[in-house]
């Protein structure tokens, strides 16, 4: 009995200690909601609606709250929900399609009015989306594109196109290197649709004289240390042949830059995607030439606005593309500084 009490106290002390220690840190951003499916009766926001009287309930079903872009999106949903008359909950799948699938079914069972969905596997969630549509929920795809043959399961799409982001990055590189150049690609999570689309888009955007030396994807996730290890091996293999590094995410670009700096290669043209705080800092520091930015604030705004209109009987465009920001040292001051 004493041992049990002691063990319980140790666990409690540990948890309290961790929270107390980090509470004063000042470096950690504000906590987001729990990453496990939120209790349906515990909405994140319940403020007064600015438009109309009725408060609707919506769920943000996202691939992972461990992905900072999704954590930021959830924060923006919470912030903007009262303005559009929504109570929001989050269901995070942590990159497990079955959990995302269950999140949609839970939203249906608990009488939600709308779901905003950004799954890790687009194919895996389609049957659940069909059930949501059949149950009368508004289905908004958030930064995730459905295949053409399944577009009927959604009401609208809001987001930036990863493929287009890749195209824009490719065109930017081609314009900057009119005489041609060599690049290596440090891809995002292997098999992830965003990584695949960014890869394909870049191939589409580059001119013929921009030559790929090699392409590797992060084997387990969008982890900075994996980008670093891949880049270290690229440097050994290709050395000064590398003119450009096309990295699929800004935090990965940070690992790429670390590897380049350790190797004394300071004149390589590094481009990344996300437009997050890390990317902005690297662009300002001159270590990253371009960050292709996505505005999750605008995506959340458009998602809530569209859902509200549909729920009140109106219609909205099916495709709502949010323009990508091309963040360079010359243009960086024209954008709102991200806080994710």
């Amino acid at each position: 009995m004493k041992k049990r009490t002691l063990a319980t106290l140790v666990v409690l002390a540990l948890v309290v200690g961790i929270f107390a220690a980090c509470g004063g840190g000042g470096t950690a951003p504000a906590p987001a909601a729990p990453t496990t499916p939120a209790a349906p009766d515990a909405p994140a926001d319940g403020g007064e609606a600015a438009s109309g009287d009725q408060i609707f309930r919506a769920a943000f079903i996202t691939q992972a709250m461990s992905n900072e872009s999704q954590a930021f999106s959830w924060r923006e949903f919470q912030r903007l929900a009262p303005e559009f008359g929504f109570e929001m909950s989050v269901f995070a799948g942590e990159n497990e399609p079955a959990v995302e699938f269950d999140g949609v079914l839970t939203a249906i069972a608990n009488g939600y009015d709308a779901v905003f969905v950004n799954p890790s596997s687009i194919e895996g969630i389609i049957p659940a989306l069909q059930q949501a549509r059949d149950a009368g929920l508004v289905v908004g795809m958030f930064s995730s594109v459905l295949p053409d043959e399944h577009r009927g399961v959604m009401d609208f799409f809001v987001g930036s196109d990863d493929f287009l982001g890749g195209v824009q990055a490719g065109e930017f590189v081609s314009a900057h290197f009119p005489d041609g150049a060599n690049f290596v690609e440090v891809g995002g999570q292997a098999g992830h649709s965003a990584a695949n689309d960014r890869h394909s888009g870049f191939q589409e955007g580059i001119a013929d004289n921009i030559v790929m030396l090699d392409s590797q994807f992060a084997p387990t996730g969008w982890n900075t240390h994996e980008a670093l290890a891949i880049m270290e091996d690229f440097i050994v293999r290709f050395g000064d042949e590398i003119d450009i590094v096309w990295c699929h995410w800004d935090n990965g670009a940070s690992g790429v830059i670390d590897a380049l700096q350790n190797a004394g290669m300071t004149d390589v043209f590094v481009i990344g995607v996300d437009g997050n705080r890390t990317g902005y800092a690297q662009v300002r520091a001159g270590t990253q030439a371009l960050s292709v930015g996505q505005s999750f604030t605008n995506m959340a705004t458009e998602s809530l606005r569209n859902a509200r209109i549909i729920l009140e009987g109106g219609t909205v465009p099916v495709d709502n593309w949010i323009p990508l920001d091309m963040v360079t040292l010359d243009s960086i001051d024209s954008f709102v500084e991200p806080d994710w």
Binding site: K3, A7, V10, V11, L14, V15, I18, F19, A21, C22, G24, G25, G26, T27, A28, P29, A30, P31, A32, P34, T35, A64, M65, S66, N67, E68, Q70, A71, F72, G187, A190, G191, D214, Q216, P219, T220, G221, W222, N223, T224, H225, L228, A229, I230, E232, D233, I235, V236, R237, G239, N251, S254, G255, I257, D258, A263, R277, T278, A281, A285
Partner: protein
């Protein structure tokens, strides 16, 4: 007359199987060096030393868990929370105290793991597998909750200059990286501990036969709590070396480190069923895991194919371990 050659062949096969990992490493090095001569460059050697760091510490800790007859899947969660808490504390209490706090936290989490297992009566590897997996979820969720899912960038966000982190990141002392010297230090200490101390031997006995160890007077529950505490500490060292390597640390840092650590330990020749193995074998296993990744990248093997090779090697290692175990 025919028995001797057969026994000789058997001995050769046994020797080959015992040290298969060494042969594979040698073959890998030779093939890669021929196809891609830059594999032998000083720069690649430096890269390998740096890549060796984080996984090697985790694998050293995991060795004692597996030799003791258990398993620990809480590694990713522990790496995640130790890294994020340590970084959170840097601007508050300074770099070295924050690192010390991180090490204490790692050991404490390991202690909690071991204590939880013993209180739950989990005295088998299978039970430990599920409980430590659950603990990993708890630790990772705590890390995500603390950070809101956002990364920490010690390269740009902190006011503190972080000299120790920078030294661990890219510092060299003589021909070896600082992180590699740290690894050699821990390897030496753990090797002496395992081979020369009563507690080190007690871990092996516990893993070999739990009941017999208990009957022999070994306090097996304390031994199990100890190996988890030791593993937690080593995971914390690995977490610190890992976040030192990259300027930006995401809360999901450490994903699949448990897989690679278990693979390194088992591939090195430590028995997954416990009671057999040592830290030197683990070094061979880590070398193979790191070299494999490095060589395949240099040879231009695509990511998906690399994962197939990793999985196949793990399966092969477990199969060989099973064969060795079946033969007694």
């Amino acid at each position: 007359m025919t028995k001797q050659p057969r026994m000789g062949r058997q001995a050769a096969v046994d020797f080959l199987m015992e040290y298969l990992v060494l042969f594979v490493i040698v073959a890998l090095v030779i093939v890669t060096a021929i196809v891609e001569p830059r594999f032998l460059s000083a720069q690649n050697f430096t890269n390998l030393m740096r890549q060796f760091g984080p996984l090697s510490f985790v694998a050293l800790g995991m060795t004692f868990i597996i030799v003791g007859g258990f398993i620990d899947l809480s590694v990713p969660g522990m790496i995640s929370i130790v890294a994020m808490v340590t970084l959170s504390l840097v601007d508050v209490i300074g770099e070295l105290p924050a690192m010390f706090a991180g090490l204490v936290l790692g050991a404490a989490l390991g202690f909690v793991n071991g204590t939880t297992l013993m209180l739950a009566g989990a005295n088998t590897q299978a039970k430990a597998l599920f409980i430590t997996f659950g603990m990993s979820q708890i630790y990772r969720s705590l890390a995500l909750h603390l950070t809101g899912g956002f990364p920490m960038n010690w390269g740009t966000l902190f006011e503190h200059p972080m000299p120790v982190t920078r030294a661990l990141s890219s510092g060299m002392w003589g021909p070896l990286s600082i992180s590699f010297w740290v690894f050699l230090f821990f390897l030496l200490v753990l090797y002496i501990f395992q081979s020369k101390t009563a507690l080190g031997r007690a871990i092996t006995y516990t893993g070999g036969n739990l009941t017999a160890a208990e009957l022999g007077g070994i306090p097996t529950k304390r031994v199990v709590v100890f190996i988890y505490t030791l593993c937690g500490f080593m995971v914390a060292v690995g977490a610190i070396v890992l976040f030192s390597r990259v300027s930006v640390t995401v809360p999901t840092v450490g994903t699949f480190f448990e897989r690679d650590a278990i693979m390194a330990v088992v591939v090195g020749g430590t028995s997954l069923t416990g009671g057999r193995g040592n830290v030197l074998r683990t070094v061979m296993g880590v070398s193979l895991v790191i070299l494999m990744s490095n060589c395949m990248n240099l040879l231009g093997v695509q990511t998906h194919a690399q994962e197939v090779v990793r999985g196949a090697i793990l399966v092969l290692a477990i199969w060989l371990d099973h064969r060795r175990h079946a033969r007694g």
